[in-house]
């Protein structure tokens, strides 16, 4: 069995080496492989994760450390619940890497906006880490984060670390006692982000309505549409281009996405039920 066949169809067993409960329904898993692992995942790419006997779902990389894979998973159904319920030492199956990447290098010399809604921060975390790793290559950087409630905010430790180097703004849909930050939609953070729209590159991930509104707001403020990137979500059964589920018009999201430029995404996202 060749490596290509394995990454294409048969999940490779990885061991849960680290597990952190981020919020009430979201868990970050660190996965280790004994023996040869999968090829390196780039920012924006995703894995198909198998809870053996339950099923398989697409999950973005939210980080990596050497050959260790890091995924942040929100429990919303049978498979994600099973993945979130794993314990240290449990084995899950991994296929990948699949899909397109956030091309962070292309933002060199530009101001950068990273806009995340909810679990959408997970696939954007590698973007921020890339920016920080070569901080001086970029102009002003702003990370704008929307969460439903303060308690659903991901990676508070990372946010504090990032804030020392880039602007980090957070907004919540609904405040909770003790919350002194802003309340509203993430688009409300854009005007004060401090980036020069004319030279900005934007990376956006979150629920589809949030991405539509954010991308439009950015373009309205003068960000070039070609410099706005979104990560799209559709049903996926294979990740590898042969199940047909992830179509969005001319795109196979597992192959031509998930990271897609706004000029391509915009006319597709405005058609209902496409």
């Amino acid at each position: 069995m060749t490596a290509a066949t394995i990454s294409g169809v048969i999940p490779l067993p990885y061991r849960v080496a680290g597990r952190r409960e981020d919020t009430a329904d979201t868990v970050t898993l660190e996965l280790d492989r004994d023996g040869e692992g999968l090829p390196e995942f780039g920012p924006g790419q995703f894995a198909m994760l198998t809870a053996y006997g339950i099923g398989e779902v697409p999950i973005s990389v939210s980080g990596s450390r050497g050959t260790r894979l890091i995924h942040t998973i929100r429990a919303v159904g049978a498979v994600t619940r099973a993945l979130c319920a794993t314990r240290s030492g449990d084995v899950i199956g991994v296929r990948g890497p699949f899909g397109t990447r956030w091309d962070v290098g292309a933002a060199a010399g530009h101001d950068v906006l990273v806009v995340a809604g909810g679990i959408g921060l997970a696939p954007l975390r590698p973007v921020v880490e890339c920016l920080l790793a070569d901080r001086r290559a970029y102009g002003h950087v702003a990370v704008l984060i929307g969460a439903r409630r303060p308690g659903e905010l991901l990676y508070p430790g990372d946010l504090r670390r990032w804030a020392a180097h880039v602007r980090v703004d957070v907004i919540v849909d609904r405040a909770e006692p003790g919350w002194r930050g802003r309340v509203g939609l993430v688009t409300g953070l854009i005007p004060a982000a401090g980036v020069d729209a004319g030279r900005a590159v934007a990376y956006v991930c979150g629920p589809e309505v949030m991405m539509r509104a954010t991308a439009r707001a950015l373009v309205d403020r003068g960000v070039q549409a070609e410099r706005v990137w979104l990560s799209l979500e559709r049903a996926m059964r294979c990740g590898a281009g042969w199940c047909g589920h992830c179509q969005l018009g001319p795109l196979l999201i597992c192959r031509d996405g998930p990271v897609v430029g706004y000029p391509v995404a915009e006319p597709l996202l405005t058609v209902r039920e496409l």
């Binding site: 048969i10 999940p11 004994d34 047909g244 192959r255 209902r272 496409l274």
Partner: protein, 377 residues
Amino acid sequence: MRTAESAQLIDVTGLEVLFGVLHERGYTIVGPTVRDGTVTMAELDSATQLPWGWSADTGPGHYRLRQRADGAGFAHCAGPQSVKNFLHPPRARLWSTDRTADGIIATGPEPPTKRYALVGVHPCDVAALAVLDRVLAHGEHPDPVYTARRDGVLVVTAECTEPGATCFCASMGTGPAATGGYDLALTELVDGGHRFLIRPGSPAGADLLARLPTRPASPVDVAAADTAVERAAVTMPRRMPDGSLPELIAANRESPHWADVASRCLTCGNCTMACPTCFCVSTTDVTDLTGEHTERWRQWDSCFSVDFSYVHGGPVRASGASRYRQWISHKLGTWHEQFGMSGCVGCGRCIAWCPAGIDITREAAALAAPTPAGEPS
């Protein structure tokens, strides 16, 4: 080309010799045969099982076998299934795993036990094979189930001389003549003695041909074959509208016509099951009671099912209109962008096997020249 110099003939008995040589070489022969009131692709032991003397009358939502006096063996149009059923099976196990003391041991898809020779496949279905090849075998991550079955397949095509009323391969450029993708091509002639013009399309085909009892074809035979295939092209009653279908589809994403189709479409998915190029699948994981043994199976799926587009929170394509639009838009339009070719080869199966008689050529024509709202299309 059916050129005079290289043209050779075999008789009906020559086909039995072909079957013999193929069996001798270890092939399992799949070809058309009469079964369950249709011409169906099936594993065949003998050339006598070919549908000698049968045609099919087809129309929207209509398929009936009709006996013919001339005994022709390949004068039938597309039946309810295709070679897709053999190379991209409706159900396949992708892998199984066992938890052992050494960890999880995985086994891939079972290697195929049979190597197929596809005999009597019409050119539209040879074109469909090229579509499946592009989708399932030539992507970055080839589908191992398909590629293992596809490797080493031998194709004997039978040019089409008797298109059905639902056929439109001529307007899709996939028939009725055989233009590639085959090892041997037959053109059946019934006037003036039942015989077949036969020509190789590959070294393997040439090698096979050398084992068959052939005789040289006369220019009259070649001309008769040319005429028969050309007549099939010009008499084919259905066609796709002129112009770029991908552009037509892209321009009609929000057409009111989708609601009109939806009022007729039952979203049963028959069209996708019968179509020789529809490849979509879903997967199901199963486990035994101990949980130590798990398997992943995959089965054909259809974009007409509500579950097909299900993401957390609900289906993307909840309405019937959006699901019909997805199907026809993929077949005729977005397939080009995804795979550089049409997803429709013009075999007409979806028309004949639609219980509501929905006709992909008429729907495309309606999009090309929309009728004013309220008028019957």
